[in-house]
Amino acid sequence: MSPVTRGFHGRRRTPPGEEGRVPPGQYVTSDFPVLSAGPTQHTPTEKWTFSITQGGDTKKSWTWDEMRALPEENVTTDIHCVTRWSKLDTHWQAVSIDTLLEQVEHQAAYVLAFSDGGYTTNLPLRDVTGGQAWLAYGYDGGPLPPEHGGPARLLVPHLYFWKSAKWVRGLELLDTDQPGFWETYGYHMYGDPWKEQRYAGD
């Protein structure tokens, strides 16, 4: 039984009618907070590539222009940060991860996304396929700003947003699950916001 906290009534900032869209323990924000462990990355698009790798070998790589030539999807989705803000109806321009993985033959069960600056995060393959994950380069009709992960970030909105790696440069295909950056520091290996999987053991 949780003790009642003196004077606390709660403001319940979830907009009326949106309750079912906001996972437990989250509040809705209208701005777009920035959280990163280190300096913002600035890789120019002419030096940018996106690679699918396995065991250190590059199986397939796209330049910026090659990636942008792939079919664009407009994604409208809610996002949920482990620091407890959720943002509803965000608009992204993106390439589906399905489109990228279709061009690679593999039998991997997991991926480790890797980014400029050394950030990594792990995801089951089934969570980055089936129309659930994107490589996003546009936000609200404009280029994705660097502080939000531009030129391109992963977008996996059904998991906590640390899984949507900023400044992403590729996916390493793996047979077994390996912790990424925050997962090594005690954050949850999977990160389902609806189950409040914030930290290891949740």
């Binding site: 949780s2 003196r6 907070p33 920035v34 462990a37 912790p179 925050w182 520091y185 290891a200």
Partner: protein
Amino acid sequence: MEGTAVRGRLTWQSATVTKIIPETARASTIVFEIPDWAGHRAGQHLDVRLTADDGYRAERSYSIASAPGEPVAITVERLEDGEVSPDLTEELRAGDEIELRGPIGGYFVWDPATNVGPLLLAAGGSGVVPLRAIIRNRELTGSTAKARLLYSSRSLPDVIYRAEFERPDPGLDVIYTLTRSQPPGWRGHAGRVDDALLAEVAWPTGQDPLAFVCGPTSFVETIAEGLVGLGYPEDRVKTERFGATGGRQ
């Protein structure tokens, strides 16, 4: 990137508030007694859970303000539109019980045993809280690492832990910049941190400095990019950011 994994499950614990220390007109330090605290490192944070009488709960993360070995404390700044901070700063009393769990985070952490190079601590507003834990940890462990705190605050009365920072410490320099108002005769810096001030305060890269930057996004972006511009390797610039509507503080 280096790191020590945080293992095991983080369970909610009942903590007793032992003391509430007003720091500024808007910020208070809350000191807890926690029976089963596993210990923490300077720079980590914890989660607090508040429960209303109808069972509604809200959780927030707060940086730990105290050094390892000291009673666990957080410093909370009241946000006018906040759901949790007004309760923690206005309503809570010594003797109250509150639920928390931690410690959380392992990257924005200073380890006095392995990091002996000079420390550059850059704080924007209440971003000073985890840096204060580092400063106290440094002092209590007798670390020889020199430290500089660059603290950007709206005004002098908004400076948290000011009395503590004014105690003479030959290994610690505190450099304030006051962004909104300066007292008469103020001879320190005024306005936001710019590249010139950062270049003046930052340790030369040859000394292998380690930087911790904590504050609002715009502050952290300016400082972190400025330090990279001065030649600081990216993995020597650790950041923690909070937005206006939430985040850590």
